[in-house]
Amino acid sequence: MDIFTQQLINGLVLGSIYALVALGYTMVYGILELINFAHGEVTMIGAMVALTVIGVVMGAAPDLPGLMMVAAGLLVAIPACMALAFGIEKVAYRPLRRAPRLAPLITAIGVSIILQNLAMLVWGRQYISFPPILPHNQHEFLGAHITDLQIFIVLISLLTMAILVLLVEKTRLGRAMRATAQSKEVAELMGVNVDRVISATFVIGAAIAAVAGVMVSAYYGLAHYYMGFMLGLKAFSAAVLGGIGNIAGAMLGGLLLGVIEALGAGYIGDLTGGFLGSHYQDVFAFFVLILVLVFRPSGLLGERVAHRA
């Protein structure tokens, strides 16, 4: 039972990171029907920028508490990612807004490769280690181990998602975003500045990605110019699992994918008597994804609910 609890905790922590990144995919898709493949790389840039800042702060004020250093890193990484996403949208996607849908998709892949290689040039090919500045106190919870950092990650994810939901549901900008998602043309006729709303969507997604990037690098203790790729792919799958374009779906999809992966890797070997090993972890996760899509082609919570209403 304690092993099961541990796997569940492992999965929830991993899943809450997936969920945060998935939000960026789903928000952009919801409005533009564009899969922004560069989003994983924005996450990576967030981690890299934050690590650089943390390195500088550590050199200048080594006695500062670790949390303050991470906060300083976030304070720079968030605006940096927001500016980056703003630029990407303006340069790479906006000119193609009326082009066939395949064009911006290819551009997105191109941007993703450019960002990876830029990061490789700036930060090098080395894995960059996250300094051990965060508290690593362990707690026993129903026989399982959970660290302060893991609790932080889950709490910050939940907090970020709550803020996002409030923003989309309760603010003027949120209403403009929902309107644009339903129909760009009609929203424009109603006086919504669609360009600004789209920019805002990218920028908000990037801010969340920066938070996720810092959390991933703190959790695994490393950052690398390549880290955004797999994370992006998993997060994108999570968004599809929950129903792409649907914010609640991205959260649910992320958490579910994390838990499925953890349970899959943890039990698949024993359940199949060693026939399928833990390297089928991803296969298992994607098998569940395919199953869900076969029976619910628009994801668990449905695709772009508002659009269909």
Binding site: L14, N117, Y127, H145, Y226, E261, G264, G266
Partner: protein, 368 residues
């Protein structure tokens, strides 16, 4: 593909001497890019030194040109890059870095009749294919896995062992050899788990292993996975020794695992760099140009030297003649004496075991 074009031919007077192109293939992008660039730099150092000395073959001055290519540690990219090098007319190839890329590429070099010397591929299968073109300057997994398996039981006193590998030719091969040797020495293998060479999260398999109560976890894989794995073992309260091969035994592993690297044991083929006959001098030369040595740079350097020594003996760069000369190699390299057996493996290689103490790899012992 972002392969860096090597050489550049910027020096004057190059037109007077014939150019011999030598390929160097390693992952220059992706998670193992730091190791790949290290190999390429090791080869480049040797090439630059030989060019500075001046090389004369068949009475004519020749200049070596290194063509650095990126195989992304991907078997399928490796074959594309290998074909590209063959088509460019390289006379020999130093590489690849990983066993998983070296083996598929070796068929292409074999078919083209070009000598291939891998500085770091250790999978047994590489030289077991019967290719006369395949050589390596590093101890293979059979030798290393055997030492590791015996050391786990006799040296570290492990009885219940969990084995994880990254499903690459290297990781899987090493883990298989380790498992066989550990079993033969009297240990029980209580779990065999798998991951991949892109993963960073191992909590699920470590949790499952923890439930079986091992006293040692063996990982066949590289530092980008090993570092986080060491961390996650501590975080999950899995109090077993982490043991690995040469993929973990490098500076980067300690950086990635931080304080959780303490106590980790790993082996490396050959001698510690400072115990190598030419280690101190090599370190000075290399680090003044390229920065810290990752792992295999001395072997890449030696591979080029062995190749050029064979060219000198043959007094030719014709691959067919060089291949015959390579078999007669008896070279005092930076990493130690290099001789080949009939398969193209190095003979009499040593394996050294290291443990992390106070944030650095300390030599435990060298097994010959």
């Amino acid at each position: 593909m972002f392969g860096l074009l090597g050489g550049c031919g910027e020096r004057g007077g190059a037109d007077e001497s014939a150019v011999i192109r030598i390929g160097s293939v390693a992952p220059l992008t992706g998670p193992q890019a730091h190791l790949g660039k290290d190999n390429e730099n090791g080869a480049r150092l040797a090439i630059d030194e030989i060019n500075a000395e001046g090389l004369v073959l068949g009475g004519k001055p020749v200049r070596l040109e290194l063509i650095g290519e990126d195989d992304q540690a991907e078997p399928k990219t490796a074959t594309i890059v290998a074909q590209k090098l063959v088509d460019m007319g390289v006379q020999a190839v130093i590489g690849h870095l990983n066993s998983g890329t070296t083996i598929p590429a070796s068929k292409i070099y074999h078919d083209a009749g070009i000598p291939q010397i891998s500085p770091s591929a250790t999978a047994v299968a590489y030289t077991a294919q019967g290719y006369k073109t395949a050589w390596r300057v590093m101890t293979n997994d059979e030798q290393q896995g055997k030492v590791l398996g015996q050391y786990a039981v006799n040296g570290l006193g492990a009885r219940k062992i969990a084995v994880i590998d990254d499903r690459t030719a290297y990781g899987q091969g090493l883990a298989d050899q380790f498992e066989a040797a550990a079993k033969a020495t009297g240990a029980e293998i209580i779990a065999r788990e798998f991951t991949n060479d892109r993963a960073t999260d191992f909590t699920a398999i470590l949790t499952s292993i923890k439930g079986k109560g091992p006293d040692l976890v063996f990982f066949g894989g590289m530092d980008p996975q090993g570092g986080p794995m060491a961390k996650q073992m501590k975080r999950l309260g899995l109090n077993a020794v982490l043991l690995g091969g040469d993929g973990l035994q490098n500076a980067n592993f300690i950086k990635l695992a931080g304080a959780d690297a303490e106590g980790v044991v790993a082996s490396s083929p050959g001698l510690p760099i400072d115990d190598m006959p030419g280690g101190a001098e090599f370190r000075k030369k290399f680090e003044s140009r390229y920065g810290v040595i990752q792992v295999y740079a001395p072997y890449a350097y030696d591979a080029v030297q062995v190749l050029v020594a064979a060219m000198r003996r043959a007094d030719s760069s014709d691959p067919a003649i060089v291949l015959e000369a390579l078999a007669r190699t008896d070279h005092e390299g930076v990493s130690g004496p290099i001789r080949f057996d009939a398969k193209g493996d190095t003979t009499g290689g040593a394996v050294t075991l290291y443990q992390v103490k106070d944030g650095a790899w300390r030599v435990l012992e060298t097994v010959r």
